[in-house]
Subunit: 101 residues, 2 copies
DNA sequence: AATTTAACTTTGTATTTCAAAGTACTTTTA
DNA sequence: TAAAAGTACTTTGAAATACAAAGTTAAATT
């Protein structure tokens, strides 16, 4: 087991950040409001989870105006994809181990 | 995504409790010291994670003497197996979703 | 001018996590 | 037989995390 949970990254353990990263793996970009509706969080809480991922450089932010509205969109960085993939691989291996028997 | 992370259980989010449950899915019982070596935790920390799982009735405890030494062993309950399986199924679905494309 | 929208930041509380130290009881060792 | 060690905790306290609610900034709409 020592080896099995070694590839897990603390920042991905939260269901919310897990959700954010998953969403960004299948969508090249998503904006603040999309996340808000997807995850049903308060603005502040969502912002802090996004900031946590940004601090690790697992996601990157782009601020612009879309039409006349401000828009903040997020995408996974290469590093983020790499680390998150490793996290999922570890989980997958763990699931496989548990399922086999 | 709303649906995807719905089957996750908070208590299984921690890598340590994930490790404990995984170990108990493939071993019908493990004792305190085995966990200690498997997970490399201080006694107190291990005890509190085990207690957390016990409070949810996801694991059960058996205290006995083995030879002359006290021995505390743990096993997953049916409820624990059921809930943990659901957690892993949810993760598996999420991984599949992310991997597809 | 007042309201709304977007995206935060700040504040404050509650919860979680963990190491370290302390405890109780038994056994082994010097 | 007194001291040390092992098992399995509990308690304490500090640090990190999580979250809601309220406040903020700046532009856009009514």
């Amino acid at each position: 087991m020592k080896t099995s949970i070694h590839g897990l990254h603390k920042v991905f353990e939260s269901r919310i950040r897990l959700g954010i990263m998953s969403a960004l793996m299948v969508n090249q970009k998503l904006d603040f409001n999309e996340f808000k509706h997807l995850l049903e969080l308060t603005d502040g809480n969502l912002a802090s989870h996004l900031t946590a991922l940004e601090k690790h450089r697992f996601i990157q932010v782009k601020k612009q105006f879309v039409g006349k509205k401000p828009n903040t969109s997020y995408s996974a960085t290469d590093l983020g994809r790499q680390k998150f993939t490793q996290h999922l691989n570890t989980l997958e291996a763990l699931i496989k181990k548990v399922s086999q028997k």
